[in-house]
């Protein structure tokens, strides 16, 4: 059976096409202002990658912020469920998923079947989001993909305290102006953010194997900082962590009982 998952996030759109337990195609692209268009386009890319047509896809589940705009999906599911499902399928030992996307951070606790037991979002005014890193990367003159490696060069990470994305940016600018080395600022940023996310996870009690999903999981600096803040090893997910939500959606599509 061929199914698809389409995750329209706040920053990126993702689509996955699966046949039974094989992932045939997986695509990510930057969001268009119109989520409906994003969904169509990323799906078209994925179909092209798999060499298929839409009518070959039996079912599709939409997820993410823009899930209601995935017009071709038969059903929608919250990204919490999808990330939980996807992570569990990829790494069955995982009991807690930390998903940091563009707009928010979530900690999700799972049972052994991948069902969500509890979850928590980032506090209001919290800077624990991917968008935060994007905004900060600009004045620092570092590419998003390089944040991780740059951060590894830090010797004495600086302290970044502001929780508001916008104000933290000012703080960064003044740190740059004060002549602080860029790696130290980047590392400080990761730490500040990791601490906030860790507090979130600790709020629902960290137990069992922890995995990290969402685009920010690709940032090694953040990955390491989070390990440090949580005080546990994070299980690396064998797949592109940004795709986990879409994979979860596809899995749910596969399991759905077709409505008559």
């Amino acid at each position: 059976m061929i199914v698809a998952g389409c995750d329209i996030g706040s920053r990126t759109a993702k689509a996955v096409i699966m046949e039974d337990s094989n992932i045939l195609a997986a695509c990510v692209m930057r969001d268009k202002p119109d989520p409906e268009e994003s969904a169509r386009e990323v799906m078209a890319q994925a179909l092209a990658q798999a060499g298929m047509r839409m009518d070959q896809v039996e079912r599709c589940v939409g997820t993410g912020y823009g899930r209601k705009q995935v017009t071709f999906a038969q059903a929608v599911e919250s990204e919490i469920v999808c990330h939980g499902r996807g992570a569990q399928w990829l790494e069955p030992s995982i009991r807690m998923v930390i998903d940091i996307g563009g707009q928010d951070a979530k900690a999700i606790k799972l049972d052994e079947k991948g069902k969500v037991i509890r979850y928590a979002y980032n506090d209001k005014c919290a800077a624990g989001t991917g968008r935060f890193l994007e905004v900060m990367a600009k004045p620092l003159g570092v590419r998003l993909e390089d944040l991780g490696s740059v951060s590894q060069k830090s010797t004495t990470p600086v302290k970044v305290s502001n929780q508001c994305v916008i104000f933290a940016e000012t703080e960064i600018v003044s740190l740059i102006n004060a002549g602080k080395p860029v790696p130290d600022i980047v590392c400080g940023l990761h730490r500040a953010m990791a601490h906030r996310v860790a507090a979130l996870a600790k709020g629902i009690v960290v137990e069992g194997e922890v995995g990290m999903t969402g685009g920010v999981a690709k940032n090694e600096g953040m990955f390491n900082a989070l390990e440090e803040a949580l005080g546990v090893k994070i299980h690396k997910i064998g797949w592109d962590p940004q795709m986990v939500g879409a994979i979860g959606a596809a899995l749910i599509a596969r399991e759905m009982v077709p409505s008559a």
Binding site: I80, R118, Y119, Y121, K124, G203, I204, V205
Partner: protein, 464 residues
Amino acid sequence: MREVFKEYDFDWRLGSLARKALGLSNATQKEYQYSLNYAPSYRDALDEIIRTGEPGVLMVTFIRDYIEEIVNAHAHGKKVALVTFNFSPAILHAFDIVPFCLEAMTTFYTAVWKQGISDCLDFGCEKGFTETSCTGQRLALGPILAGLGVKPDMILYSTAGVCDSNAVSYAFASSYLGIPQCNINYPPTLTDERAAEYHRADFRNMVAFLEEQTGRKMDMDRLREVADEIVIQDKMFNELQDLQQIIPCPMPPLYAMMNFAFRMIYLGSKQYTTLLESMLRIAKANAAKGIAGVGEEKVRAFFFYIDHFCPNIKWIIWNRKQGISNVAAFLNDFWPKGNPFLKHPEEGYEMDLSSYDKIIDSLALQTSRFPMVKNIRGPYDAPMMWLDDTLSMARIVKPDVLFYIGTMGCRNTWSNVKLMVRDLEKAGYPTFVSYGDSFDNRVDPVDNLIGKCSEFLKIRGVLQ
């Protein structure tokens, strides 16, 4: 604040709205529907209240009376006291003082009005009041500070020692407007002899203040009348709370709010008795028929803080449409003797009518058992405080989910709601926390709240 909002007095505007609303409710169904179209700014709220039937109409009627009494108090030679919501107005009747409760005004305003909410909220800040304080007071306080409403003659609050944010609003108003104030200050404990003594002494201190302000002694006959009325009201109130335990809950979700609003503004007055009678009649009839007040009860919800996320009443409508029963609300706990939720006899109060002194002591005790005043004064996990009350009530009303909705100004609960959630989840109750503000839609808009909440109910398997 926008100029347009300065044209009419805040209280007068609310009063006239209630008047208009009543005009509508008397109309035939067809006329009513037709007229609603011409009242876009409060159509939804009004419809939601009126659709509860007689109690809803009574509520609007009495709110109109309440506001008119405030607006006309000075013309009738009466004094107006600005009071907080967790304060029993009963004693004021014995002095013929008209109470003016800020939070009741805030609630009413945010529920029915579509515009000007942020203007009112920001108004206080323009006068130097802090922007981060509790919106419950801040919204209605703004226009008062700006002189867009009746100028109170005195200020009374019972939150010293319980809620800084609340107390500070009244203290600020007093200093800003140059109006005398008196507060009731609560110790961190509830039932020990030291606390009881403090309650009595402090209440009498306030009575002395009222005597000084009005230049007269208390009217003992009025006091007795009020006390007699309270005895009747408490009995009916206990009956209502008994009904909450039934599955499905026979009470329409809005009853909780109607009840506590009226205890806060009309305790000891006939109006509250009339409302109680009306609510009881319907709830009992529902119970007899075995039907739920919400229609079809799908979820039993216990609101362990504020239950009314006001802006445009959208949240309340959504709750009803989802079949979410309000089976218990933290603001609706008053602890009279015979109440089903009492854990220990000394936790509650009883009206002792044997002498005037005893009546006053009873009122002191009653005031000390008002919501929040009773159970957020001490550590959240101390006996008879927030956690203990929530858990013991939950065991009785058997909720499927617990909701925390508060205000961003609430230092108290925001300082330990995370601890609460941990303990409540451990006890097996799915617990939802909103990061919104009950009276300021800008903090986390109601649509987000609804989105997050339905996600929660679905993921946690509460609502399929």
